[in-house]
């Protein structure tokens, strides 16, 4: 395993700036998740590390080794994509063996068997080793494609939305599995997603990308509890943070233009009156859609609340975030 360092990496595609001076360190044994909407530069960053694309400016190094001029094969990285891309004519075992059978590696047969057996064990696909790859469910196929990356024991794993095409239940199972595998192996992982739950639950560090710039880098808790901007604050948290003009509540600091309120920063029962627009029962929580002086506000309340459309509730902020006119956090 190895540390990955990006130093001031920029990349343009024609007139579009895909990456703009991104500097970031993926620590040895770290699980770094890149988060951002479509077009933020997540996948491009991954491709810079993998060598599928080369930066226009800046350097990438893996384990202290500069990557300039090296092909993907020379970089000792393993990739997992959203589309499993297994070899359909091979069995699960043959798919897993494939990277080890490369003529350059000359891995002895017994060694291959041992590694495949081990990985199959970890991913709970031992009983499916002799199945055709196409005779598997979606979750099993994705396990095999993760397995094919694991057998190589590379210095870094690069994953591009590996769980996005799976259904909700499978996704939540594989989240825990992937996190455990990474923690047990001490693997270094760079992972792209736009699913904030994946970012929150698996990452040791989250990198928030906005139009090709890395705007915040830190643990999920840091980014949730201490965001640097409205943009970063909006990446994590469901329902999303409410952003209102700062002057709607008393007590805003001087330069504040906006106040940011997560559901837990809204106290109910006292303060300003709001109109209940809609009550959304989601089972474990109930969302209140409030109207407050022509502003929309969403907060959560007790699952079995008696509140209904047309009721009035009082709210007040508790330790809110304040942002200036550019959206930067005021502290």
């Amino acid at each position: 395993m190895a540390e990955v360092i990006l130093n001031n990496v920029s990349k343009r595609f024609g007139s579009d700036t895909a990456l703009d001076g991104v500097s970031m360190t993926v620590p040895d044994g770290g699980f770094v998740v890149l988060l951002g909407p479509t077009g933020a530069g997540k996948t491009t960053t991954l491709r810079m590390v993998s060598g599928l694309d080369v930066p226009d400016a800046g350097e990438v190094s893996i384990g202290g080794r500069a990557m300039a001029g090296l092909t993907p094969a020379q970089r000792d990285v393993a990739m997992v994509f959203q589309q499993y891309s297994l070899y359909p004519h091979l069995t699960v075992r043959e798919n897993l063996e494939f990277p080890l059978k490369s003529p350059i590696l000359r891995t002895p047969k017994a060694e291959i068997d041992r590694m495949v057996g081990e990985v199959a064990e970890v991913l709970q696909i031992s009983h499916k080793l002799d199945n055709k790859a196409t005779a598997l469910s979606g979750g099993e196929m994705q396990r095999v494609s993760i397995g094919r990356a694991l057998v190589r024991n590379p210095s870094v794993y690069l994953m591009d939305e590996p769980l996005s095409s799976l259904d909700a239940k499978l996704r939540s199972d594989l989240r825990i599995e992937l996190k455990n595998i990474q923690a047990n192996l001490g693997a270094t992982l760079l992972y792209v997603t736009h699913d904030q739950i994946e970012a929150m639950t698996m990452a040791t560090h989250v990198g928030v990308l906005d139009k090709g710039r890395l705007v915040q880098f830190g643990s999920p808790r840091e980014i949730y509890e201490n965001p640097v901007s409205i943009y970063a604050a909006s990446r994590l948290g469901q329902p999303r943070i409410n952003v209102l003009p700062a002057d709607v509540f008393a007590g805003a600091p001087q330069r504040a233009a906006f106040i940011g309120l997560r559901p837990e920063q809204i106290l109910q029962g006292d303060g300003q009156e709001c109109f209940v627009e809609r009550v959304e029962h989601l089972g474990d929580q109930t969302r209140l859609h409030l109207k407050f002086r022509a502003h929309d506000l969403i907060t959560v309340t007790d699952a079995h609340t008696t509140l209904a459309h047309g009721d009035v509730v009082k709210i007040q902020p508790a330790n809110p975030f304040y942002f200036d006119a550019t959206g930067a956090r005021l502290v």
Partner: protein, 365 residues
């Protein structure tokens, strides 16, 4: 506006049975969700209601009139598809006005109507644009506009947001629901996304393998699932299942799980054999003093809350607890299960046993 009643509807494709004897009622002005995994028969059910498929047997009533064997054109409904199906050679305004012009409505009236609809959907400024350059969201708005403009009795939508990315989807689902609240039109909506169903629906039908598993208000279905399938399909993470062997009788108020006694709502059914105790993650509380024990396997931070996965002698269980509580993998702890919220299932049939708590919901759905 319309009330729609589906009675004992069945559909076979050759030897494959897609929908088995489904019955449910959609009331005037309801936002009604057909929910289930792929292949469960939800789209087939919708297509039969719309007249795009004819039922093999059973009746469909729209406002009391039996329409089961009538073609779509005679049912006065509007259909919105996942792939917007707009006319690519026409501009936005022409797409929306097309159904009216083909009905022979005078031009002046059409223009007024289109302007009104464009206003509702917030697309007035793009009426002259060609379809080609529009974003996914705008295309969906145009497709909605074309459906709304006819003032049909009901709207049928088949995963209309399925093609949009997660962030935009959330926005559009709110917009769609707000639009429904303004217009009050009966809407039937097919989705496989349980959160979308909970979020938008007044009522939900949960289907699996062509069978209606449960039908009712979202919160009721969440709290009191009729089957293990529903308990697992709705909620994220889903309901926890603790499998054990035992005997319970009418009036039982505690079950015995590996030496611990767990209180639950008074049962109205009895059963002996393989049973499953179901508990939602938010009703599992970590309490060192509790008799039922578990070992922490993993924690997942979610901002306001965290999900703690624990190993127990009856399988894995997930608890949703506040994120400020400090929990570490490897710790052993006791688990309190909130007695008022528990459901007991017959493990072999998957059906919930009736209790004083879920009786009302189960009798209705």
């Amino acid at each position: 506006m319309a009330q729609i009643r589906v009675e004992n509807v069945r559909k076979d494709f050759g030897s494959f049975n897609a929908v088995k004897s489904s019955s449910f009622t959609i009331e005037h002005g309801e936002f009604f969700m057909l929910l289930g995994p792929s292949g469960c028969g939800k789209t087939t059910t919708l297509r039969m209601m719309a007249g795009l498929e004819l039922p093999t047997s059973g009746e469909i009533y729209i406002d009391g009139e039996e329409v089961g064997q009538k073609p779509a054109s005679q049912r006065d409904i509007a259909f919105v598809f996942q792939m917007f199906a707009l006319y690519p050679h026409m501009n936005v305004g022409k797409n929306i006005s097309y159904p009216l012009l083909s009905q022979g409505m005078p031009k002046v009236q059409v223009r007024k109507k289109v302007a009104e609809i464009a206003e509702i959907l917030g697309i007035t400024d793009i009426l002259d644009r060609p379809i080609g350059g529009l974003s996914g969201g705008d295309r969906q708005r145009v497709a909605l506009g074309r459906a709304i403009v006819r003032d049909p009795k009901a709207f049928f939508m088949d995963e209309p947001l399925g093609a949009l990315d997660a962030e935009f989807r959330e926005h559009m689902s709110e917009e769609l629901r707000a639009l429904h609240d303004r217009m009050g039109a009966t809407t039937v909506y097919v989705t496989h996304d349980q959160l979308e169903a909970m979020q938008m629906g007044d009522k939900i039908v949960v289907m699996n393998h062509g069978v209606v598993e449960q039908f009712g208000v979202p919160q009721d279905i969440y709290d009191w699932p009729a089957t293990k399938f529903v308990a697992q399909f709705i909620g994220s993470p889903c309901m926890n299942f603790l499998d054990f062997n035992g005997t319970v009788g009418k009036g039982t108020e505690t079950v015995h799980l590996g030496g611990a006694s767990i209180a639950m709502p008074r049962l109205l059914d009895g059963e002996s054999g393989a049973l499953t105790l179901g508990v939602r993650p938010e009703h599992v509380h970590l309490n060192d003093a509790a008799a039922y024990r578990g070992e922490v396997v993993a924690t997942e931070y979610l901002g306001t809350t965290q999900i703690v996965t624990l190993k127990t002698q009856h399988g894995q269980i997930k608890a949703r607890i506040p994120s400020h509580v400090n929990v570490r993998a490897g710790e052993r702890t006791g688990l309190d299960l909130d007695a008022r919220t528990l459901t007991l299932f017959n493990a072999s049939t998957g059906d919930a046993l009736r209790s004083e708590a879920n009786l009302e919901v189960l009798n209705h759905g």
